[in-house]
C-alpha cells in the first residue's frame, strides 16, 4: 500500500489544495489523510486511490471546515516567492492563485467539493452522485453553479 500511496501523493495533494486553498493547510490535510490511511487501512474491495480521496475529503469536511481554516486563505509567500516559481510565471501564477483562492472561498461548500471531485480528482458525475448520495442532476447543477460563480468572480477580480 505504501508504494501505491506514494505514487498517489501528488494527485492527492492537488486535491487537498483544491479543498483548502492553502499550501500549508493542504499539506496538513495530506499528512492527516496519509496517517488515517496507514492506521485504518482500506476497506475490502475498495480501490485505494478512490478511498484516499474520500478520506481526504471527509477529513476536510470534519476537521478543517469545523476550524474554518479555509477562511484564512493566503498565498503562502514563502513558497511562491522563494524562487521555486520564477519570473513571469511567478507573477502570472500569483495573480491566478490569488484570484482563484479568493473566488473559491466565496463558493458554497457543497459546490466547492463537487468541483474538486470532478475537475481535480477526475470523477464522473455518476461517481460523484454515488459518493455523495445525491442525484446526478444535483451534481450537474452544483457543478454548473460553481463554475458560473468562479467565472464571475475571476472576471470581476
Amino acid at each position: 500500500m505504501q508504494a501505491q500511496l506514494t505514487a498517489l501523493l501528488p494527485a492527492l495533494r492537488r486535491f487537498a489544495w483544491s479543498l483548502t486553498q492553502s499550501v500549508h493547510d493542504a499539506d496538513d490535510l495530506l499528512q492527516a489523510t496519509v496517517e488515517r490511511l496507514l492506521s485504518k487501512g482500506v476497506p475490502e474491495n475498495v480501490d485505494l486511490s478512490r478511498w484516499a480521496f474520500t478520506v481526504c475529503r471527509n477529513l476536510w469536511i470534519d476537521e478543517y471546515r469545523a476550524r474554518k481554516i479555509r477562511k484564512t486563505v493566503d498565498v503562502d509567500p514563502e513558497v511562491f516567492e522563494s524562487g521555486q516559481v520564477d519570473g513571469e510565471r511567478e507573477v502570472h501564477g500569483k495573480l491566478q492563485l490569488n484570484q482563484v483562492m479568493t473566488a473559491m472561498k466565496n463558493l458554497p461548500e457543497d459546490q466547492h467539493a463537487v468541483l474538486s471531485m470532478v475537475a481535480i480528482q477526475g470523477l464522473s458525475y455518476k461517481d460523484v452522485a454515488a459518493e455523495l448520495e445525491i442525484p446526478v442532476g444535483t451534481v450537474m447543477s452544483r457543478l454548473s453553479r460553481a463554475r458560473c460563480k468562479l467565472a464571475e468572480l475571476l472576471a470581476a477580480g
Partner: protein, 241 residues
Amino acid sequence: MMQINDEILSAMLDGELDAEQIQEVNHAMVADPKLAARFAELAAANASFVQSAKMIDEAPMPDAVTRLLESAEQDSNVADLQAFRQLRKPTHNASNKPALRWAALAASLALAVGLAGGNLLGTGSSSHALSPAVADALNSVSSGEQVEIGSTESMLAGFSFVDTDERFCRQFSVNSQDGSSNQIACRDGEDWEQVAVIRSTEQLSESYQPASANNQALDGVLDTIMVGAPLSLEEEARWLD
C-alpha cells in the same frame, strides 16, 4: 431538442454528454456566438482552477509525509517478518529452516535445468564464500548497475531484499567469456554467503529478466527466504552505508 444552458455547457466540459448532445451543442455555438463565449468563459474558469491546483507541485513534498510513508514501509517489513515467523513456528524451527530453503531451491533448480539447459554448480547445504571482488561489488554497487570484476568478468546487480534472518540479500548475475551465473547472496556480518547460484553456458542479457527460464529457478528460493518486496534504491542505500 434540449435546452442548452450553463449545466449543459459545464457537462460538455466534463465529457458527460453523448455524441448526439455534443453535436447539438456545437451546432448551437456556431449559430450563437454568445453561447460560444459563455462556454469559453466556463472553460477558462475551470482551467484556472485546475492550473492553480497544479501549482502546488512546485512546492516540495512535505518531509513529514514522506517520512510517514517510509517508516510505514519499514514497519510493514517488520510486520511481514513477524507474521511470516508466526506462520512458520508450528511446523518449522530454526534448525530445519536450511532444509526447507534448499528443498525449495532443489525443486526450482530442477525446473531451470530442464528449461534453460543450464547446470547447477556450487550449491549445497553449507554456505559458500564469494570472491572478494564480487563481495566488494555487492557492498558498493546499486541495483541496476553493472561493474567489471577483474579483466574478464562483469557483474550486474539485480535487486536487493531482506531475508527471513533479517539479512541484507542481493540478486545479481556474473557474466564471463565462459558463461554466466544468476546468483543470490546474503550478508552475514562482514561476509557474503552465497545462497543460490545457477550457472549457464549462455551469456545473460544485460538487464535482469524475472520471467526468463533461468530466473524462474530462483523464484522458489526467493519465495522461501525473501521478506516483503524488493528494497527501493533509497532503502538499499541505507544497507550499503
